[in-house]
């Protein structure tokens, strides 16, 4: 995949006779002005735009500024849908959610210094959740770099730990190639964000567009095909297992391997549990679905993992929110781990049968070798747990229960909406009470846990899927962090819906203070505005709901809006998320099961 050939020593230009004949992706919008036509003189900014279009990037998010003026001039009449956020962090989350919803690469463009610095949280979010994002940042003129120039920041230095790869382009002849490499790196292997820093003099420098088209990545290799012997060993272990569990993460979604997962689960007859990012990869309406596992996962998933004799992890990374106490995680299980990233294997938990490869390829091969087994006692046990400990809440009170809001949302949208979330209780309730049935339906910041992700994510998802119903299930404080982006939704006529589960607290932190800090609610309460009034002021529709009885009507009204709509649900203030595996405890040592049982 990567070229091993090198130009002679000292050559800065890595031109190739086969320039333009090495497309990274299929061009969806062929542009007659680019690749293959030798000798046409263009400038750096035009090359950036042409290369982006050639790579299929027809939608971008970004914010202008001094050193990206040449680039924005070229964007003025380019055939690109360009969304301007109100803050670069929002723009990065939008590009990220656009990528998660569409499966394409998300692109974000900012200026140097503060523009680039504001991307950091967004890039870190995308890195933790393996999302293909390409960020292009302007930089001060090459000769000023290092001089503390106006709006100068060491962008590659600052973003190196939060990107899969980054670099600065100092020669216009390297621009087209570097952008192709960025798309390739971002979207292959374990996907992730890539940043390219472009000094303004490179953007205005002239260059023949035909040069330097071929990628040069001698250190970048992706293993997609799994080792056949390892796959056979895994299949034998599955065929022998009496009590297996499939544990599925976001890797299955980024590999577009949901159908292959379903085929394996059906052919071998396996129960399936998912991580937060894995939700949607397997239809939760099926009896074999154990829903989410982990700290706030279902009791039945956690019990099943702790009692299984074989755990088949696919595209998941044994995060601490999943394993609980590592030493006692799945104590009786042999572990198969299928992942495209070799560093994920045996990082946190010892793995017995590792298979490095693309989930789609490996699951296809594995399915060929597995046999159906009924496993009646195991499924009986699971069914009993499911019956005894479903996700529940007390629906007898007249105050609005957050879980009820989500159940009602799920009912009225027939479980078909795209859901984005904030971070905290709102996110966990969304994961517990909305029923996901298809991949790319839940868009949530899992690894980094970025509060404020929900609203810009809803915008990015709506841009990617204009016809879909996109709902941000948010917390009041998560929403506070990025609510300025409501203007972006209004300006672009995006009919996103925002459901704020407003308890006035930073709810999850408050829950921990209640449980572990003797109810000392230190700094977790802030005065909130009237969200409906804010929404109306920004040109959106605002609704406030204070009684449980008004919830269905408000949701109905929200769903028919053509404008962005914010619904402020004043929920039960000290509602907790149950069950909960306290830090340092094993998965089966869940708190709150007695509370859930008492609601039965």
């Amino acid at each position: 995949m990567s070229s091993k050939s090198r130009p002679p020593a000292g050559s800065a230009v890595k031109s190739s006779p086969k320039a333009g004949a090495h497309p990274v992706r299929n061009s969806t919008m062929p542009n007659p002005n680019i690749s293959g036509q030798k000798g046409r003189i263009s400038n750096g900014a035009q090359i950036i735009v042409d290369t982006l279009i050639e790579l299929g990037a027809d939608t971008m998010f970004g914010y202008p500024g001094g050193v990206v003026l040449p680039l924005f001039d070229r964007l003025y009449d380019a055939p690109i849908n360009f969304i301007i956020p109100r803050h670069e962090q929002g723009g990065c989350h939008m590009a990220d959610a656009y990528a998660r919803a569409s499966g394409k690469v998300g692109v974000v463009i900012t200026t140097s210094g503060p523009g680039a610095c504001n991307l950091v949280t967004g890039l870190a979010t995308a890195l933790m959740d393996s999302v293909p994002v390409v960020a292009l940042t302007g930089q001060v003129r090459t000769e000023l770099i290092g001089n503390d120039a106006f709006q100068e920041a060491d962008t590659t230095g600052i973003t190196r730990p939060v990107t899969k790869y980054n670099c600065i382009v100092k020669d216009v002849k390297d621009l087209a190639r570097t952008i192709r490499e960025a798309f390739h790196i971002a979207s292959t292997g374990r996907p992730g964000p890539v940043l390219i820093d472009i000094p303004v003099d490179v953007s205005v420098a002239e260059c023949s567009t035909a040069s330097s088209a071929k990628m040069e990545l001698p250190g970048y290799r992706v293993r997609t095909k799994g080792n056949a012997r390892q796959i056979s060993t895994a299949a034998k272990a599955i065929n022998k297992s009496e009590q297996p569990v499939l544990y599925v993460g976001g890797g299955v979604i980024s590999a577009n391997a949901s159908d292959e997962l379903k085929a394996l689960a059906e052919k071998a007859h396996l129960p399936v549990t998912m991580t937060l990012l894995g939700l949607g990869s397997y239809d939760q309406s099926k009896a074999e679905s154990l829903d989410m596992l982990g700290m706030h996962g279902s009791a039945y998933a956690n019990y099943a993992v702790q009692e299984c004799d074989l755990l088949i992890a696919v595209g998941a990374r044994f995060d601490d929110r999943i394993t609980g106490k590592v030493k006692t995680f799945a104590p009786n299980a042999k572990i198969i781990h299928i992942d495209i990233d070799p560093t994920s294997i045996s990082k946190n938990v010892r793995v017995d049968i590792p298979v490095v490869g693309d989930a789609k390829d490996v699951l296809t091969e594995l399915t060929k070798e597995v046999e159906y087994r009924e496993r009646k006692p195991w499924f009986k046990k699971i069914a009993d747990w499911k019956k005894k400990f479903p996700f529940r809440y007390d629906d007898s009170s007249s105050t609005i229960k957050p879980q009820y809001v989500i159940e009602e949302l799920c009912r009225q949208t027939e479980g078909k909406a795209i859901i984005t979330t904030g971070v905290g209780q709102n996110q966990m309730w969304a994961a517990q009470f909305y029923r996901f049935s298809r991949p790319r339906q839940l868009i949530s910041s899992g690894g980094l846990g970025t509060m404020g992700y929900g609203l810009p994510a809803a915008i990015g998802a709506q841009v990617a899927k204009p016809g879909a119903t996109v709902i941000d299930i948010d917390g009041d404080h998560s929403f506070n962090m990025t609510m300025t982006e409501l203007s972006t939704a209004v300006e672009n006529k995006l009919p996103i819906k925002v459901c704020i589960l407003n308890n006035g607290y930073m709810g999850m932190v408050r829950q921990w203070q209640e449980l572990f800090y003797n109810k000392r609610y230190s700094k977790t309460y802030l005065a909130n505005p009237s969200y409906a009034t804010v929404a109306e002021a920004l040109g959106a529709v605002g609704i406030t709901v204070e009684k449980a009885a008004d919830v269905p009507g408000a949701i109905k009204k929200m769903l028919v809006q053509k404008r962005p709509c914010v619904v402020d649900f004043r929920i039960e203030r000290e509602e907790n998320v149950w069950p909960m595996v306290p830090t340092g405890k094993s998965l089966n040592e869940m708190d709150g099961l007695d509370i859930l049982e008492s609601m039965a």
């Binding site: 090198r6 020593a9 000292g10 230095g157 730990p161 980054n166 250190g219």
Partner: protein, 171 residues
């Protein structure tokens, strides 16, 4: 346990920062890190000595390989290698002690590269243990300063029995 890891990297700006940053971010300990050019002007070699158990070093190796401009990673543990440090050391050697110091230098196959009224500067190379031993033996005379390169290494041609060549003492 000490592992010598050799990484062939693209000779590009930022690669050292990327590697060093990865070590810091993942809390891996670097004992020494040497970077230098290779026979190919587009490639540099980093020789990194890491201390850790097998699980840690396995992660180090995989995390290094994951860095895009890192082309190839080898862990030399368990294979016969030639590993060398280079040291410049300034030792106190007043006239009355000088013959004694010079004979020590001789024994360690060191080379006197500068000599003054009170100090001699010596170049010593060899396996790390030899360098350490030389420092220890010089201590009673007084050491003015030490500059060391850290370990570089290259595997031996695997012609002889590995276990035997592992045991071969190097001086």
């Amino acid at each position: 346990m000490k592992h010598i890891i050799s990484a062939l990297v693209e000779n590009k700006p930022g690669v050292l920062a990327h590697v060093a940053g990865m070590f810091a971010a993942r809390a891996f300990n670097i004992d020494s890190l040497v970077v230098g050019r290779t026979e190919d002007p587009d490639l540099s070699r980093m020789t990194i000595v890491v201390i850790g158990d097998d699980k840690v070093v396995e992660q180090v190796r995989k995390q290094l390989a994951k860095i895009v401009p890192v082309v190839k990673v080898q862990d030399f543990a368990g294979q016969p290698v030639v590993a060398r440090d280079l040291m410049l050391i300034a030792i106190s050697a007043p006239p009355e002690k000088r013959p004694e110091v010079l004979s020590l230098i001789e024994m360690f196959k060191g080379k006197v590269v500068d000599i003054g009224p009170r100090f001699v500067m010596v170049e010593v190379s060899g396996p790390e243990a030899k360098i350490e031993a030389f420092i220890d033996i010089c201590k009673p005379y007084g050491i003015k300063s030490v500059a060391r390169t850290g370990t570089i290494a290259m595997p031996r041609q695997a012609k002889t029995d590995t276990s035997a060549s592992n045991k071969r003492t190097e001086l």
